[in-house]
Amino acid sequence: MATVALENVGKVYPGGVEAVKGVTLDIPDGSFTVLLGPSGCGKSTLLRMIAGLETITTGTCRIADRIVNDVEPADRDIAMVFQNYALYPHMSVYDNMAYGLRNRRTPKDEIDRRVKDAARILAIGDYLDRKPRALSGGQRQRVALGRAIVRDPKVFLFDEPLSNLDAKLRVATRIELRKLHERLGTTSIYVTHDQVEAMTLGDRVVVMREGTVQQVGPPLELYNKPANTFVAGFIGSPPMNFADVSFTERDGRLVAEADSIQIVVPEPMRRRIGRSTGRTATLGIRPENLRIATPDADRSNAITGVVQVVEHLGAESLVAVDAGGHLLIAKADPTVAFASNETVRLTPDPEALHFFDSTSGAAL
């Protein structure tokens, strides 16, 4: 059990590519922290630097209050689960799990006990004599997990471990990973580009983009209070709708306006925006917070648009609406039918409006 502390950590590859730019991050003891971001955002590089598989160009990395910049991966007391499992193909499941312990000269009966324990936790006891080749993807993933567990490390590192599994297995394994973490309580760092995985697994999510940390927080905080347009657009499915608006004062109320958009800014939000008339901003509103209103609803607080496409997902429908050049997605009741080119009015949930600075993208 240990904390991981990154201080101003940066990585520059020999070609001059700066993959990670001065990341400072504290990972508390026993937490399940997810590094989330699109491909190429530096999340895997960051994980590999913690693992010791990449050298750290600048800054320091501490595991359990020990600076590990120049410590070999095997001596950092960590274990890693790789995306393609990286099982030794010529060794049996048992040997795969025991290999690391044997290299540490752990006594034979101790190895046996630990491997059997891990096999029992992961329900792979029946396959211990098999070669990885004879296992399914899910079973291989468990063996890779087992190899990490038997080491009883201070920190678990996961590099997109579920991306090679099919959708159904991925959901099942996700739940098991969560249960496993609750049972072992070991500090875990998990890299993924899948926001659903990040939201369901992590108790803290770190959103990264182009080598920098965008926001750190519990999943719901990221969802409810995104720090900028990038985080807002990356978390949530379908993604948040954005529209450029300008503010005007009307009848003592602050209104955010654009072509076909007129939205009254609620009072608490207004205080945050401050002096505002004539100012422009980016409005963000999630599909689930847009309601399709009856035609006679209040025109002064609504978005008017033309239905483009309706996607039926069963539990809900996604309606794509063209509102003055902005394509907005709204989640709608699947029982209501819409015709293409029908004019509709959308009313947003006033509690769920987001405004971002139009140049910096930071939340207002």
Partner: protein, 284 residues
């Protein structure tokens, strides 16, 4: 083609049978010739069935050798043993050296790594014959003429094998090396515990090729050895034919040819199943 027609099956078998006959017939004639007296095979028609001299010819050849001056009465078992030692040292040495060279090139970052690789790669274009004079000079100056070291050391480096191992190592996922690093395996342990077991089929295939290569060496042993004690079987056959004022003892020569063929054939037969395994198992 999914259809099965009896006459097509027949045609296929006949074609195959003709092919087999074309390859096997000369070997059969060689074998038959080795079982007759010299005068029998020098008169037409050539016999097509084994004669009576099988045991006599082979035992004389193996244990006392031919008495003509250039063959010098070296028993064939001695030549076979020389060939075997030479072929084994060359095959094993080549595999060990090129395995380690490829390991260094693929898994370590050192200055001029690519330069080293290209240098090795370029020597692919230089067979022994091209560099035979300088190599002979070096070996002679080192005093290695007429020794097993002289027979084998200049042939130990192998660009082909290094290249093949390199290509194989490049297909081994990086994560495997990283996982081993995490598991506390240093470079040498990774090589021994992970890379070596994964390479067994490649090693078997290379061993067959390199053993045959070593066994069939002709020019180099011919230059290298003046002492009959180090005569190899391939050059021995040449010496047996090379006689003055008389006919070569063809039955003996044919018997030597048959015996010289056996070890490479045995190696191929024994290691054949590894070949197939190597071809079928693509998963790493």
């Amino acid at each position: 083609m999914v259809e099965r027609r009896p006459w097509l099956t027949l045609l296929a078998h006949v074609t195959l049978a003709i092919g087999v006959l074309m390859v096997a017939f000369p070997i059969w004639v060689t074998f038959v010739a080795s079982t007759h007296r010299p005068e029998d095979i020098m008169t037409a028609p050539i016999p097509l069935w084994p004669g009576t001299q099988l045991l006599a010819n082979y035992s004389e050849l193996l244990f006392s050798g031919l008495k003509n001056p250039s063959a010098g009465g070296v028993p064939l078992w001695r030549m076979m043993a020389n060939s075997l030692v030479m072929a084994l040292i060359i095959a094993i040495g080549k595999i060990v050296l090129s395995f380690m060279a490829a390991f260094a090139i693929v898994y370590f970052r050192f200055p001029f790594r690519m330069a080293a690789f290209w240098l090795i790669f370029m020597t692919l274009m230089l067979p022994v014959e091209v560099r035979i004079v300088p190599t002979f000079k070096v070996v002679a100056d080192l005093g290695m003429l007429n020794s097993y070291a002289g027979l084998t050391v200049p042939l130990l480096a192998s660009a082909t094998a290094t290249f093949l191992f390199r290509q194989f190592f490049l297909t081994v996922p990086d994560e495997l090396a990283e996982a081993a690093r995490m598991d506390g395996a240093g470079p040498l342990r990774f090589m021994k515990d992970i890379l070596l077991p994964l390479s067994t089929t490649n090693i078997a295939a290379l061993f067959v090729i390199m053993f045959t290569f070593g066994w069939n060496q002709y020019l180099w042993p011919l230059l290298m050895t003046t002492d009959r004690q180090y005569m190899t079987v391939v050059m021995g056959i040449q010496r047996m034919i090379n006689v003055a004022d008389t006919d070569p003892q063809w039955p003996m020569v044919m018997a030597a040819v048959i015996l010289a063929m056996l070890p490479p054939v045995a190696i191929v037969v024994v290691l054949q199943k590894w070949f197939v395994k190597g071809l079928v198992e693509t998963e790493k």
